[in-house]
Amino acid sequence: MSRDSAQARAEDVARAAYGKLIAMLASRSGDIIAAEDALADAFLAALRTWPERGIPDKPEAWLLTVARNRRTDQARRDARLVITDEANDMADAQGTEPEETQIDERLKLLFVCAHPAIDAGIRTPLMLQTVLGLEAEQIAKAFLLKPTTMAQRLVRAKKKIKSAGIPFVMPEREAYPDRMDAVLEAVYGAYAVDWLEGDGDLSHEAYFLSSILAELAPDNPEALGLTALIGFIEARRDARVDEGVLVPVPEQDTALWDARLIERSVSILTQASLRRTPKRMPARFQLEAAIQAVHAARSVTGKTDWRALSQLYHGLMHAYPSIGAAVGRAAVVAEDAGPSEGLKMLQLIAYDGLESYQPFHAVRAQCLAELGRVAEAAEAYARAVSLCTDQPSRRWLETKIANLRKKMS
């Protein structure tokens, strides 16, 4: 077998099994740093030996055994470490463990990363690194931080997990909903961080992370809702920006949407609704996914159902009110009931920071433009541009301003 194909195979296994292997290596000692080092050594060993001896039947088990042996060697060399349960650990490294235990370990790792004792700001980066094996540098770019700063924060969090004794366990029943919410929030954070401007690497990883989550928590309607939500948005990747200019969802070319991913997301969202307690309102991520499902339906019906969107945003404002949902609702009300109704909705929004919230000004400008209040519209668009942080949105807003100027002259 060639070196290249051994490398490709090792990389495939790495991507698919990284979090699982880290979780299994770290769960007893809580030492994620040692697990990462041992696994990195095991990957190097794979690249050395697989091209000559062929790929083992169970590449994951092979990597796990090698990593565990490396870690034990390291522990013996490190006089400052006290190993209490290594003998036990080594015994089961020889056999293969049932699939379910492996899956549980990975879910436990997600709960560790989103533990209440871990700073909320580092939970998402921690998941990206420990579950998917992303480098600190990649993560730093998406979070607009210096790689060294990101690396330091990650190391600090990992050290804390070990020394504070954060357990690799499933949370107890009464704590479960809150802890699961924190996991969902952190996974969502991975998607939200660079969906538009980034090179797409990270949002794809986030989609991968959410798929793992749906696989690990198939009975949790919100975990499924989040996976469907990210799936719907991910399906529109190729249609989102045209020649550097943002294309709003209702104007996107549906031929560029990933139909298979949309279908999969619809089916996951349906599963979520079946898991939900009857007569209970769907929660946040299911509602947000349902909103995207309505947009996605345009690829079949040819039009956007603004009335349905308006009702879903109303539900979202009830279940999980936020400035984004409030402005989103005003935008769909403007389409459904007309721009003056949209303006009324905007006037009712009372959130701190509204004045510096770019979408508020963009939606307001759109309503004003449709009402023929061209000068006010231009002013609102200009305000939106000044608050804009990404290029595609800025260019889109600038084309809107250019169109207004044509009208004015």
Binding site: A79, R80, L81, V82, H115, P116, A117, I118, D119, A120, R156, K159, K160, S163, A164, G165, I166, P167, V169, P171, E172, A175
Partner: protein
């Protein structure tokens, strides 16, 4: 009378310690503990992981808040301590939540570093 000593030091001082330094430090503390024991005045001691591995919990204001990091406000000051032996941080948090002081103050939780050095 029973007294509690609260030991303060600059963590930067121990950042560059070599394994030999740690052995020496353990010896010095060991001698001190032995002296206290010999005099019959020793009750208990502990050696904690650094402050940046702390977790702080409060129920003051009626809402449970768990914070990553040490207790950082200046108005409240150290008024006592409990040492408990439990399995992990989740169990420690559960006991901290039952500590009366969480209703009006904060409880900072630090793991013992005794068995890791």
């Amino acid at each position: 009378m029973r007294y509690t000593f609260l030991l303060y030091s600059d963590p930067a001082m121990s950042a560059d310690m070599t394994p030999e330094d740690w052995v020496e430090s353990k010896r010095v503390f060991g001698d001190y503990i032995a002296a206290l024991q010999e005099a019959g005045v020793f009750i208990d001691t502990d050696w904690l992981h650094p402050a940046d591995t702390a977790t702080t919990i409060t129920l003051a204001g009626g809402e449970k808040r768990v914070q990553d990091g040490p207790f950082a406000e200046t108005k409240e000051t150290l008024g006592g301590f409990f040492a408990i032996e439990v399995k992990d941080l989740d169990e420690a948090l559960k006991w901290a939540e039952r500590c009366p002081v969480v209703h009006y103050g904060k409880v900072e939780i630090r793991a013992s570093a005794m068995d890791s050095v």
